[in-house]
């Protein structure tokens, strides 16, 4: 790793830390029920989410801040099935995630296997 790569990685990480702190601070300012909802989704994403940076949490908090400002009921925001909601949400962030790297690796390996078979080697 050369020095520019190293600095961009370190600064990137620091940027992510600051964004994460900002997100947590915004969460704390939400009315109780909305905060409970955001924290529940946060926990879920930490365990089963796509990985990657803080972008997913920032978009999530944007949604809930707006919903709280409009007093939109939580049910009207997340629907009947919160898992379905957050899974659809999380799929938007998979391009930079470990899941996606594994999917690509799988597709590449199967591609090579199929090619080897076709050429009879």
């Amino acid at each position: 790793m050369d020095i520019t790569e190293l600095t961009s990685k370190v600064i990137g990480d620091m940027g992510n830390k600051r964004r994460w702190r900002d997100y947590k601070a915004r969460t704390k300012r939400l009315p109780d029920s909305y905060r409970t909802a955001v924290e529940a989704f946060e926990r879920y994403l930490m365990h089963l989410g796509p990985g990657g940076g803080p972008a997913i949490f920032e978009d999530l908090i944007d949604l809930f801040e707006q919903s709280a400002a409009d007093s939109t009921p939580i049910r009207a925001v997340v629907g009947e099935d919160p898992v379905e909601f957050i899974e659809a949400f999380a799929r938007n962030y998979e391009e930079d995630s470990w899941k996606n790297r594994e999917r690509k690796r799988l597709a590449d390996t199967i591609g090579r296997a199929a090619e080897d078979q076709a050429t009879g080697s």
Binding site: D59, L63, E65, Q66, A69, T72, V77, V78, G79, F85
Partner: protein
């Protein structure tokens, strides 16, 4: 209807939302409200929001942040050229699908 319409809508919602945005730019809640007016009563606001994030990432819409009286700025979405192309293709695909399904339906009766 209920559960089944949710399943069927999944693949078409991007097209529906782009079609709504083509008539005029809107922010998330307006889009949900207009869908509800048109009878899609079960659609959650979060579903539309996730979809808007997706079509933004795909580059099908342009986004402008407009300050709001309460809460954070609202993101107003408008269809761009790529979005129009996507929508054209969507309607072609939809016509094909609707046509085939109508034929199957007739055949089954």
């Amino acid at each position: 209807m209920g559960k089944q319409i949710t399943e069927i809508l999944k693949g078409t919602l991007e097209g529906i939302v782009l079609a709504i945005l083509l008539t005029r730019p809107a922010y998330g809640y307006e889009i949900t409200a207009r869908l509800r007016e048109q009878g899609f009563t079960d659609i959650a606001e979060g579903t539309i929001y996730a979809l808007l994030v997706r079509i933004e990432k795909k580059g099908l819409v342009d986004v402008e942040k407009i300050p709001s009286e309460k809460g954070p700025p609202r993101k107003v979405y408008s269809v761009n050229i790529q979005g129009r192309e996507y929508l054209d293709e969507f309607w072609t695909t939809w016509s094909f699908l609707a046509d085939r399904l109508a034929q199957l339906h007739e055949g089954a009766e």
